[in-house]
């Protein structure tokens, strides 16, 4: 291979330089640094079985792989991840800003003030949105944030065993991840069926649910997986009757118009933060949002940034309340979280400031307006809304013919009782023409 200025493996040393460094510390050859590794463990064959590519080659290969993604038509897929407008300003100033992305967790606050302040502003934005007192500095994604919320309530309760009531209209993947997290723990996961007609969760169904032990948590999502708006006040009050904590799973932009978790009486609010203008990346640039009432502060999972002073009395930021965390408390920590999703959090915090309350409301209104146009144009001969309760910007339709060839989400694999149902999601990026196009596809199905 022709040596390049990048060096093989991005190692800047030439062979001669490696030799010289080895000699300088008294080694005959560079490979002698491995002298403590038992010889028989050394791999017999090169594991990858191939040579390195040039940068030019990999760019071409990447382009080819990317070209296999279908994006010649507008999508109406949502279900937790949304095709929102991604502001170029935030991509440039945050996602692709190396001063942010090539740093590690801000262990040395004096050399990491930018990251810390960015996270602090994110926490402030999330508290404003949810109305709750405290936000952490992010978790991995919405589903794991829900699991952490339930574990947080469990840890804060005096009980060693009990039950968690989860609406069946909570995202199926969130319920699945929660089930995995709880699988070794003495908490029964009890699903509360949604109302077959309305598609909503009835507070009375929550209230009537019976469990063997105390109910630790009640979980509902708003708008729920079907896009239907829930009576979160009613559900939270049913949770109170059980003396359980209430977890509100939210979609961030919707809180510009829907009752905040605080207003409904929720204790913890979690969300998938991708819908705060982050690019989709196949669901792989996620953001776990987690906010709670003050009384849970000492039990919060993950990093928290606090504002303080430096030795000159100037405002400064640092990671704080670390006695909750794994590096100090080890097996007694409130969670095992170490690396979180800082870059996404800073981005989300900036998105909130770029759009503000009015902008977020426009996102919701525009998305809702497209859904209105869709529902207005939907001909009962072909398809009709499945549920009677109102949606916000996603709706389940029942179709006479299969729509699996269209960019909408079939629900039958998640809900056996919804064989002919599809979740159709709208965002502010969809146009009237997009909606008309979908309608005509449905009528031609």
């Amino acid at each position: 291979m022709i040596p390049t200025s990048s060096g093989v493996g991005f190692v800047p040393h030439s062979d001669a330089q490696l030799d010289a460094m080895a000699r300088d510390i008294g080694l005959a050859r560079p490979e002698d640094v491995f002298s403590e590794i038992p010889k028989h463990l050394m791999a017999a064959q090169p594991p990858l079985g191939r040579a390195g590519l040039s940068q030019d080659d990999i760019l071409r290969l990447g382009m080819k792989a990317a070209a296999r993604t279908r994006h010649d038509r507008p999508i109406f897929l949502g279900g937790g991840f949304y095709d929102r407008f991604v502001p170029p300003a935030l991509v440039e100033a945050i996602l692709r800003r190396t001063d942010y992305y090539s740093a590690y967790t801000p262990y040395q606050p004096e050399a990491s003030q930018g990251l810390l302040q960015g996270l602090f502003e994110y926490q402030r934005g999330i508290c404003a949105l949810t109305g709750l007192d405290v936000s952490n500095a992010s978790l991995y994604d919405g589903a794991t944030a829900l699991a952490e919320a339930v574990l947080c309530l469990y840890g804060a309760s005096e009980h060693t065993r009990g039950a968690v009531l989860v609406s069946a209209a909570v995202h199926p993947h969130y319920r699945a991840v929660l089930r995995t997290y709880l699988s070794d723990i003495s908490l029964d996961l009890i699903e509360i069926p949604y109302c077959a007609e309305g598609g909503n969760t009835l507070p009375d169904a929550v209230r009537r649910a019976r469990s063997n032990g105390p109910v630790i948590a009640v979980v509902a999502q708003n708008p729920n997986f079907f896009g239907v708006m829930e009576d979160m006040r009613g559900i939270a009050s049913a949770a109170k009757d059980h003396e359980a904590g209430m977890v509100y799973v939210f979609e961030p932009t919707s809180l510009s118009v829907l009752a905040s978790p605080e207003e409904t009486g929720a204790d913890i609010a979690v969300a998938e933060g991708q819908s705060l203008g982050l690019p989709l990346y196949y669901g792989g640039l996620a953001l776990g949002v987690f906010a709670a009432r003050e009384k849970f502060l000492r039990r919060l999972p993950g990093r928290i940034v606090g504002k303080t002073l430096d030795n000159q009395g100037r405002e400064a930021y640092c990671l704080t309340l670390q006695t909750r965390e794994q590096h100090i408390r080890r097996e007694k920590a409130t969670s095992n979280i170490c690396t979180n999703h800082t870059l996404c959090a800073i981005y989300a915090g900036a998105y909130l400031r770029l759009l503000g309350a009015d902008g977020l409301r426009s996102v919701v209104e525009t998305s809702a307006a497209r859904m209105d146009q869709f529902l207005d144009g939907l001909l009962p001969d072909f398809a009709a809304p499945r549920f009677s309760s109102p949606s916000l910007f996603e709706v389940v339709i029942r179709s006479k013919r299969p729509l699996d060839h269209l960019p909408v989400l079939p629900l039958r694999s998640y809900y056996p009782d919804l064989q002919d149902a599809y979740l159709v999601s709208f965002t502010e990026r969809r146009t009237t023409a997009d909606v008309m196009g979908l309608l005509s596809e449905i009528s031609r199905a």
Partner: protein, 464 residues
């Protein structure tokens, strides 16, 4: 609105019922686009990062992240792929995931990979739950103990606790390796897993790994590899060949993806064949050149991520491994370990390296204890003084086994000149400790803020 997108209004939103609607005002301290960009550009400048500075943060492998990864990630076919698109519409995405799985399995000596975990700690929990399920279905449910060496990373015991496993601490011997006698005593029919990183957190290769593996397996337990420290052995020794049954790898360390100032990272796990059915589903499968997802059966622990893991980062690792090839992989470990040994030998005359008698691997741990006893200057003071010279500081006070620890990991992407500059700085600092200790207690003075009052932050939390 400012024209970010075409707006429409909806009576549906205007007519929301009392019970559903938000009442409280929403104050998000809006900034115009221009000012917001300026705000963040200026904030970002208040950080040291790998692209600006030497970043010898031990256990974090802060190597250069190739920009080719960023370039490939910018492709619209990746950035706009929706996680619920049908497999035939995202074959390129699935191809990347499939190839990466295969490569990671080959490099670690494992049979099956799971790419869902979003970080190292997430991978640990995933693997421990997988192990528990394995024992449960083998009708051996009383294996509920996880053995961790006393110098293990904090996430190891914390993950064990989240899987409701009891932590049993195994002592280290005076050579900085697992004390085999103590291990023997602590292994029992209750042992589920021994979690180990090799090289360990002192930067030392566990030379008795064969014995350790045999003891654990003879006791009926599984051997778990914390892959945070894989950089030292990349392309040379495979955890699978050392007897490990499971592993997590931090792609944000060895595999060069940028750490994002704290994340997102990615922490895929790998397992030997006997553990594969218990991994989280759905599984990625390839049939006659077509990739798709297939649901796991009831042996699986269930889903572990809301979508399919941190695809953006998995993609960057795919790019990196294609750039490396076998020769590159071996070059990485060679230069990483040589750089660390070079630095260790140069630092030793300045600060003792308590377990530094032999060869270190990718990192080493120096101690400021004697210097502190002599001058009052602590490891933290040294770290802060380093920041003043525009370099990031080593990891301090970890691992706990070394008092006043400074854990130094130079990585392979640093030139000798950079290492020499670091050594010169450490020499100056040690001299200053003797002549002007106050300069170290007062450091840093050239960073955007001075020494931050962390005690005050915790006493009076201001969090928003």
């Amino acid at each position: 609105m400012s024209g970010l997108f075409h707006c429409a209004s909806s009576p549906r939103v205007e007519r929301l019922s009392e019970g559903l609607a938000r009442r409280a005002p929403l104050d998000l301290s809006v900034l115009p686009e221009n000012d917001l960009v300026r705000h963040h550009v200026n904030l970002s400048r208040k950080n040291l990062c790998v692209d600006s500075s030497f970043y010898p943060l031990g256990s974090c492998t802060m190597k250069y992240s190739p920009k080719a990864g960023e370039a490939v990630a910018a492709e619209r076919g990746f950035s706009s792929a929706h996680p619920w698109q049908k497999p035939e519409e995202v074959q390129g995405v699935l191809h990347v995931l499939g190839e990466l799985s295969r490569d990671l399995a080959a490099l670690t000596g494992m049979d099956a990979m799971c790419l869902y975990p979003a970080a190292g700690a997430h991978g640990e929990l995933c693997a421990l739950k997988t192990a528990r399920q394995y024992f449960r279905l083998k009708n051996d449910p009383n294996r509920t103990e996880v053995l961790v060496p006393e110098n293990a990373h904090g996430t190891n015991p914390a993950s064990a606790a989240m899987a409701k496993l009891q932590v049993v601490v195994v002592r280290m011997n005076n050579r900085g390796r697992v004390d085999v006698e103590d291990l023997r005593k602590k292994l029992s029919a209750r042992t589920a897993v021994l979690m180990l990183t090799n090289p360990n957190t002192l930067g030392l290769f566990e030379t008795e790994i064969d014995t350790v593996a045999k003891l654990v397996h003879d006791a009926g337990g599984l051997l778990y590899y914390d892959g945070a420290n894989l950089n030292a052995i990349l392309g040379r020794v495979r955890p699978g060949d050392m007897g490990f049954d499971m592993i997590h790898v931090n792609l944000h360390k060895t595999f060069s993806i940028p750490h994002g100032g704290g994340g997102p990272g990615a922490g895929p796990i790998g397992v030997k064949a006997h553990l594969a059915p218990f991994l989280p589903g759905p599984f990625l499968v390839q049939e006659s050149n077509r990739w798709s997802w297939t649901e796991a059966d009831s042996r699986s622990i269930g889903r572990f991520h809301g979508a399919h893991g941190n695809f953006l980062n998995l993609l960057k690792a795919w790019v990196y491994l294609h750039l490396l090839g076998d020769e590159g992989a071996r070059r990485v470990s060679l230069a990483a370990v040589l750089n660390a040994n070079y630095l260790q030998e140069k630092i030793k005359p300045l600060l003792p390296v308590p377990y530094g008698a032999g060869r270190c691997m990718h990192e080493f741990v120096a101690s400021a204890l004697p210097l502190k006893d002599e001058t009052g200057v602590s490891a933290m003071d040294i770290a802060k003084r380093i920041l003043d010279e525009g370099m990031y500081a080593p990891t301090v006070y970890f691992p706990l086994l070394v008092k006043e620890a400074l854990m130094v990991e130079p990585t392979e992407t640093e030139r000798r000149e950079t290492l020499d500059r670091f050594v010169a700085l450490m020499r100056t600092i040690v001299e200053e400790a003797r002549t002007h200790p106050e300069r170290l207690h007062d450091a840093p003075v050239r960073t955007p803020v001075g020494r931050v009052d962390e005690v005050r932050a915790a006493r009076n939390p201001v969090l928003k």
